[in-house]
């Protein structure tokens, strides 16, 4: 069975950790969009959830930083952050689906690392908190390094997404695909709180316009300059867009939420 659901969403920790710091109307738009995604995912009746995600020093350090890592664990623990206001929990993993993806990558010209033990931080746990109620769906995390350079290029992330999409579309399982991260933000930096609305809107327009090849044109330097260190996470969105090449992107919400220090975007890819 194919990919039965696809979405991309920001994971600003403030969404849960300091929800009330945001203007009420903005918070409600973001949370409302997450609730809409949750209803859509429920209706799509998936068997498993593949998260194209990132991490914030939860597992990998500078002793060993994979460009791509696919989790193959029977379960995952998270979040690592005590302050996130998301209860620490255990999420089941889908070992078979993970193995299928790893094999397909190796056959298809990618050489990801794989891991049978991963901790999850807010990048994965925050979307799962909203979208995987009771943590019913088993997870396969596909982690991209968007944390520290050198990072995989957007072009390469798009190509990885295309490969993952082909494999998942021919899978026996009904798969929900979730990308997490972005849009523009400068987390923890002196510029913390800055948001580049023009960049975010152009990126969303490029997604909704449908020509996936244009996503390959983003350069590391342009993202770094215009969307900040956190903006590199749009690589997860680019990979997901590659995985669902023919689906129309619909922006459910875009809110530049200054107290959450993030241009918060939530996009569903319709079937």
């Amino acid at each position: 069975m194919p990919i039965v659901f696809a979405c991309a969403a920001s994971h600003a920790p403030g969404i849960t950790a300091w929800t009330e710091a945001a203007p009420r109307e903005q918070a409600e738009k973001v949370l409302g969009a997450y609730r809409r995604l949750a209803a859509l995912i429920e209706a799509a009746k998936p068997d498993a959830l593949v998260a194209i995600t990132v991490e914030h020093w939860a597992n990998f350090f500078l002793d060993h930083m994979p460009a791509f890592c696919i989790g193959r664990a029977p379960h995952y623990e998270g979040p690592i952050e005590e302050w996130l206001r998301i209860p620490k929990t255990r999420v089941r993993g889908d070992v078979d689906l993970a193995s299928t993806l790893i094999d397909a990558c190796l056959e298809g010209g990618f050489d990801p690392s794989f891991s049978d033990e991963l901790l999850l931080d807010h990048a994965t746990m925050l979307p799962l908190h909203f979208l995987n109620r009771a943590m019913r769906l088993p997870l396969v995390p596909v982690i991209l390094n968007t944390l520290t350079r050198p990072m995989p290029t957007p072009k390469r992330c798009l190509a990885l997404g295309r490969l993952l999409g082909e494999v998942l579309e021919s899978s026996r399982k009904r798969v929900a695909l979730v990308a997490t991260g972005g849009l523009s933000h400068w987390p923890g930096e002196a510029k913390h709180g800055k948001i580049n609305v023009a960049f975010d809107r152009r990126f969303l327009e490029t997604l909704t316009a449908g020509d996936r090849n244009r996503l390959a044109d983003y350069s590391h330097e342009a993202i770094d300059r215009e969307a900040g260190s956190g903006g590199h996470e749009i690589r997860t969105w680019i990979a997901l867009a590659g995985a669902v090449p023919d689906r129309r992107a619909e922006v459910l919400a875009y809110e530049p939420v200054v107290p959450w220090a993030t241009g918060c975007g939530i996009v569903a890819f319709s079937l």
């Binding site: 020093w57 597992n59 500078l62 987390p187 923890g188 930096e189 002196a190 913390h192």
Partner: protein, 84 residues
């Protein structure tokens, strides 16, 4: 220059519950396991946010580390005021 070691210390405290407990029990003893310069040791033990940032600690190591110490968004921003 032992930025690698300084960041590793913070990484362990942020991610590993057992390490975090050892750090909280006795930060100075915990820090002795890492090869730090005097300046780095002082900055981390004093939680001198501006110094840690200027030394080059990755912002996504530093901000979660300060959140563990209950540093508010405002106080964090104040510590970095005027920096690039």
């Amino acid at each position: 220059m032992s930025l690698y070691q300084l960041q590793k210390l913070i990484y362990q405290v942020n991610r590993d519950r057992a390490a975090r407990e050892r750090y909280r029990e006795d930060p100075a003893a915990f820090a002795r396991d890492y090869e730090l310069t005097d300046e780095e040791r002082r900055a981390v033990l004093d939680l001198d946010i501006r110094a840690l940032y200027t030394l080059g600690v990755h912002p996504l190591l530093l901000r979660p580390f300060t959140l563990l110490h209950r540093v508010s968004n405002d106080d964090y921003a104040k510590a970095l005021a005027g920096l690039d």
